[in-house]
Amino acid sequence: MQDDKTGVILDIDDVCISYSGELAVRNVSLPIYEKKITAIIGPSGCGKSTLLRSLNRMNDFIPGCELTGTVTFGDVNLVNADPVDLRRRIGMVFQRPNPFPKSIHRNVAWGPTINGFSGDMDERVEKALQQAALWDEVKDRLQDSALNLSGGQQQRLCIARALAMEPEIILMDEPCSALDPVSTARIEDLLFELKENYTIVIVTHNMQQAARVSEYTAFLENGVLVEYGDTEDVFTNPRNQRTEDYVTGRFG
């Protein structure tokens, strides 16, 4: 693994996460590089979502969930950060599209509004929707309910909602698992454009997706980081037998 810490925006160091005493993530150390896509793969229940959700402190809402170790973001330890400020800087897209039951415009504008954004809101909304490749489809009906959009459109709206905060990192928890292949392809195209400006951490079940979109890949099994490295190496030349079995589809 690389010892060079330049370009590391988020440094996960010896992190253990437990639910009511039961370990879900064990001693994971992992760098997240700036303006790159890092994929976390692994079988169901391996702790990849748990690890991802610890990066913007979403696990705070789960009673009995505890984290040891450090996650360094810039020069602060996430454990000591203000979670509200943290989530403003580290956005998240969830597994199932979860737009607010409000207008399309409001969905995107709400985050900036509550965080005291005082600039041109319409401009910010348009920019976020354009970045999420949704603008052309919704520009004439911004006041319609977001619930009238299709699943794929809703998920792109959720991405726009995260982008409107202009976060430094975007966490994506299996963002395509509830979508059809066409919508999935659109979101993957989107990821390529977004990594110009954003750091993305994506949890996925889809091996091809991880291979297609990411620069770095981490393979987790039973809460243990089995392998981490350049995506190409992990997929074509894995060091670990378990990784090879998993990425070639022999199990999981």
Partner: protein, 286 residues
């Protein structure tokens, strides 16, 4: 094998049909009883229901007696009860669902609120008499009545509001937290608006109960013969169910008919409140 499966299927269909018929009968019975009741009350009470009845104070002469003071007292009582019980009840529910850490203490509070919802109303009357009328020396005033009624309906409001808040999907809360919202911002912008229809339904049920309760009001000493309209929260008062109760306990037939007219007024007030709540709810969900 297949023939036995077929006869089994026929038997299952028959059972389903019997159960459906049973449910229909029970529902029909409830509706018939309600219609008969309304019909009877209307036949007896409607002839007495006129402007004179609505604008007169009680009297020992049935033809001069009216419901003005009781109607005014009920409106005072219900609006003050609403002003006290709705904010307290809804905020308590928000605290218990959104803020309180799940644990023994929260569990203990929840169980006790559920128990309080089942306490007979007369017990609240005794409590109101001891605390508000005597200890706080609020006398037999509208505020005493409203505070007592608030205690009575608080558990109903809290439980309904808690259920409504719990039904808000957690994915919605997470979405809001994930863009850097504080707890209060999440509650205000997303949880409460989504839970509002359920909360309003609970409030309607609770206030409907308050409007019909008689026992606690008698206990705290609301008057039965009032020839004035309360002008402030410290004034004495009477209420519709008390007036109705008073009329039914008189020996003269005319007063029994007046009671029926009073019941119609009570039902109309109730229906208007429900209509208002439905209107607010429909406007809110749009």
């Amino acid at each position: 094998m297949s023939s036995s499966a077929e006869s089994n299927l026929a038997w299952r269909h028959r059972k389903a049909a019997v159960f459906k018929g049973f449910c229909l009968t029970v529902t029909g019975l409830a509706v018939v009883i309600l219609v008969v009741l309304l019909y009877q009350v209307s036949v007896i009470g409607l002839p007495w229901l006129d402007g004179q009845f609505l604008s007169s104070f009680p009297s020992r002469f049935p033809e001069k007696a009216g419901i003005k003071s009781a109607l005014a007292g009920t409106l005072w009582l219900v609006s003050m009860t609403a002003m006290i019980a709705i904010p307290v009840g809804v905020l308590a529910a928000v605290y218990l669902e959104e803020y309180a850490r799940p644990g023994r203490v929260t569990e203990f509070i929840n169980i006790n609120i559920a128990n309080l919802a089942g306490v007979p109303s007369i017990v609240y009357g005794i409590l109101g008499l001891a605390i508000f009328v005597r200890f706080f020396a609020l006398e037999r005033s509208v505020i005493s009545g409203a505070l007592t009624m608030s205690l009575l309906i608080l558990p109903v409001i809290i439980i309904a509001a808690k259920e409504a808040i719990r039904a808000v999907p957690s994915s919605l809360r997470q979405a809001a937290y994930a863009v850097g919202a504080t707890r209060w911002q999440v509650v205000k912008a997303h949880v409460l608006p989504s839970a509002m229809p359920g909360i309003l339904t609970g409030i309607i049920l609770a206030l409907s109960r308050a409007i019909g309760e008689t026992a606690p009001l008698i206990m705290i000493g609301a008057l039965t013969y009032v020839t004035f309209i309360p002008e402030g929260p410290m004034d004495e008062f009477t209420a519709l169910p008390i007036q109705i109760f008073n009329w039914t306990s008189r020996p003269q037939q005319e007063f029994h008919e007046l009671a029926s007219a009073g019941i119609i007024v009570l039902l109309v007030v109730l229906l208007m409140m429900n209509a208002l709540a439905v209107y607010i709810r429909n406007r809110g969900t749009r």
